[in-house]
Symmetry: C2
Subunit: 500 residues, 2 copies
């Protein structure tokens, strides 16, 4: 039950050359993109890998383009085969995870440039980077550059959260240049269409916006359909109220009209768009806590229950779903989030923002949140939305994007290792072996940020010969413990040889 079995799939990998001539291959989020391409012109767009796959389905007249739809029919798609190669599992395994809703491959039929990736707890933990201009800055070129930059450092998906000018065109060029799934929060653009007046929103404007964005090829939509009218009152005693932009917009609408959330009421109409284009849900947690005092409260868990209900509604229509989670949560309350989400949403992939484990370190929230992210990913969260050092303070620049992505690669990888994900630990072991054997260049090459590692080493010992030295400036030549151990082993070997 495979489509196009003839198609030979080539999945680009990062190839790390080691000094013994061997090559370590690893997951490449940038796919076929090359960030060293100086001639890059975003107006050209990248290769359309899925063009023929999609054309075949359109020719056949498929009315649901969701991977879950195919999975339920038992059909192994090229997308499934592609991610199976990426993750080192069988296509059948992928199909089954998608069928039961425990994993998703976000893939809009109008995003042929996509090199498919899978989000689910049985696969590598993924990370998302947010980009997009706000009213206060940045051009289309800059945003496409942020996309490429975040993929270079390891983002698995990118959300375009633009709210400023040129919102349609910015999105267009992001998608045309994205080998990864692109997510959006369509509510932002809908709000622009009613000139920022939340009360003037309605389902028609919203659906119109959905279609506009689905047409462009957005792969997953954050939909805040769980912010029910009655839940808003539950946030009254909170310190930071509602901190999700989408959540606060919908709360405003509900209270103004004294009506139920129109996204919830008209969920069926949204389903129709999702199906037609194969867009996945990212059910938004509009009532996530914005500080640790508000974590795991009634409002948050009331919404989660509704997200569980909506998950099942979407699944009934064969639409892929992931569920968004917090936010700000102290260490001792993290596990409960994962446990409840698992129960309530029947293991639909969890997609959390951090969580930040303390509120006292603005400027370092990539770190406060990487702590919570590593932990919740180990517990089973499938994708982590990054937080940059600028969180709460301003729009991230390129350096912030990089710092956020790297902190989250660390969190995701730490979880993969702890979960015993096949192959995850191999890179750690190779790097540690290189470290022990003073193969400095190999240590740098295997690290998440080779240039930084090298520059730190070279700050004190820049001479070429020092790349073979059996010490560095941290402990110095006579106190390098790894050198001492090596000497020890050598002597031991000589002793045991002379005994024989």
């Amino acid at each position: 039950m495979t489509e196009n079995t003839q198609t030979q799939l080539h999945v680009p990998q990062n190839e790390i050359q080691l000094s013994d001539g061997s090559t370590f291959k690893t997951y490449r989020t940038a796919g076929s993109l090359c960030s060293h391409d100086d001639e890059f012109d975003y107006k050209v767009g990248i290769n359309k890998l899925r063009k023929h796959w999609i054309e075949e389905r359109l020719a056949r007249g498929d009315e649901n383009h969701s991977q879950m739809y195919y999975a339920k029919k038992g059909q192994i798609t090229n997308e499934m085969r592609y991610v199976a190669i990426r993750e080192g599992v069988s296509p059948e395994f992928v199909l089954n995870e998608i069928k039961i809703g425990r994993a998703i491959i976000p893939s809009n039929r109008n995003h042929p440039e996509l090199e498919p990736m899978i989000i689910g707890k049985k696969f590598l933990v993924k990370i998302n980077a947010n980009i997009g201009n706000s009213a206060l800055g940045s051009s289309i070129e800059e945003e496409v550059e942020k996309l490429r930059w975040s993929l270079h450092w390891g983002a698995d998906t990118v959300m375009d959260l633009s709210t400023g000018k040129n919102i349609h065109e910015t999105r267009e060029w992001i998608i045309r240049n994205a080998p990864v799934p692109i997510g959006t929060v369509p509510l932002y653009q809908a709000l622009e269409k009613v000139k920022g007046k939340a009360e003037n929103l309605n389902i028609d404007i919203f659906i119109e916006t959905l279609i506009e964005q689905a047409e462009q090829g957005v792969d997953y939509f954050t939909i805040h359909a769980g912010v029910l009218h009655d839940y808003v009152a539950l946030t009254k005693k909170r310190i930071t109220g509602i901190v999700s932009r989408g959540g606060s917009i919908m709360a405003r609408w509900c209270l103004h009209h004294k009506k139920e959330n129109f996204l919830y009421e008209h969920f069926d109409r949204i389903n129709e768009v999702m199906k037609k284009y194969g867009v996945s849900y990212s059910l938004g947690d509009g009532l996530r806590p914005g500080c640790i005092a508000d974590a795991n409260d009634e409002a948050q868990f009331a919404e989660l229950k509704t997200l569980g209900e909506l998950t099942k509604k979407a699944w009934a229509e064969d639409i892929q779903v992931m569920v968004e989670g917090p936010g700000h949560v102290p260490l001792n309350l993290i596990e409960e989030n994962m446990r409840l989400q698992n129960e309530i949403c029947n293991e639909a992939p969890f997609y959390t923002l951090g969580p930040l484990v303390t509120d006292i370190a603005p400027g370092y929230d990539h770190i406060t949140s990487a702590i919570g992210a590593a932990m919740i990913a180990w517990y089973g969260t499938a994708m982590l939305c990054y937080v940059t050092p600028k969180e709460h303070l301003g729009l991230p620049n390129k350096q912030d994007v990089k710092d956020g992505v790297i902190a989250y690669k660390i969190a995701a990888h730490a979880a993969d290792v702890a979960k015993g994900h096949p192959g995850a630990k191999e890179r750690d072991d190779l790097l540690s072996k290189a470290r022990f054997e003073f193969r400095w260049e190999d240590q740098f090459a295997l690290s998440l940020d080779p240039e930084l590692a090298r520059s730190y080493h070279d700050e004190t010992l820049p001479q070429d010969g020092m790349k073979k030295a059996h010490f560095c400036s941290m402990c110095g030549p006579s106190f390098c413990s790894m050198h001492l151990t090596q000497e020890l082993r050598k002597e031991e070997d000589e002793r045991s040889l002379s005994k024989n």
Copy 2:
């Protein structure tokens, strides 16, 4: 049973001025030091807070200067009273924790400048910063400056790991300027005395070094007495062998002489020095894992068992003990470290280095390790030894020291909050409230690094008026969710008013 009850203790606190005129007071690691003192001359030394307390004991002819000795006699010392104020608990509580060995106040009788602090799982989680020159650099002045700098950012203790020139004099000026406990690894200096030849070490040279350093006022000594001869062979299959400098030196000595570790054999002689000066043990984990593949192995846990045995030996002589722990440990193996240490060492304070939860991010090991540190501190570790971004790559500079300290303040505070430590969450709540109310200056002031937070905010919105703005550049004016929530609450209030 209190000494000098008349003494009025003044405990300096950090005072954060808020815009409503109130002051938030918090633990001040720098104590009476002021880092803004431009005229600072390290050759003067700081105030000797404990001078009279110690003189009284010397006059009385006390032969054991350990706080455990006094605790077991039921005597509340000024040190106990001092830390009780710092931690907001009763002196009786402090006395009991010290008596049962669950907490220590490292305090050499020759370090009168010390402003006492306590290390134990029932108290605030502490962090240690390592300073000290290696053969490859830095002057005494620079090292004293690193001490003051790390205290300014929040280090609770500092270890002087100097191995280079002027080792004695550097230590002297560090101690004379340290309001916090200073720890050392005396083995480093002992090795210098035998010109780097580990096999020439012996207990006499070691004791001579111990006395030299105890005379200067070192408050705790890392002693690698748990690296037994038979354990060395257990490290053979490891990827990174022995990565503790002290561990590798002792392993070398044992194998060369085919004899038992002389620190273990002559532990009683070491005890005598500890008692006489009131120095605390930091029982070194010479066999800690240096990569995640080596975590929780036989060698590591064999040594831990011996550390448990030594803990009880020291306690029998009323000497305070903490126990050092790893290192590199994947998330799923962290809890076992804490559980075993608790059991084997009867809850003697655990003092861990990180642990780093992955090996693949040299250059970012303050982050990889802050993740493990937060988790293990939540499980009960009493003190966290920081790791800087330069770990494995070179000697940290000032910026690295700051980055390491802040990452560890985050980890320690996150654990305090998760453990429900009284008052810990208050700062988070105040900051979040300030954030929600757009009191930008208060948000900055309450953060761990006010200057950085402000500079990040000002990068896009430097105008003075923006410090009162109801948004920042992250989401922009029309998408600031906190502003939207505030509007919502205002409208709700008006509506309910008009109903009445």
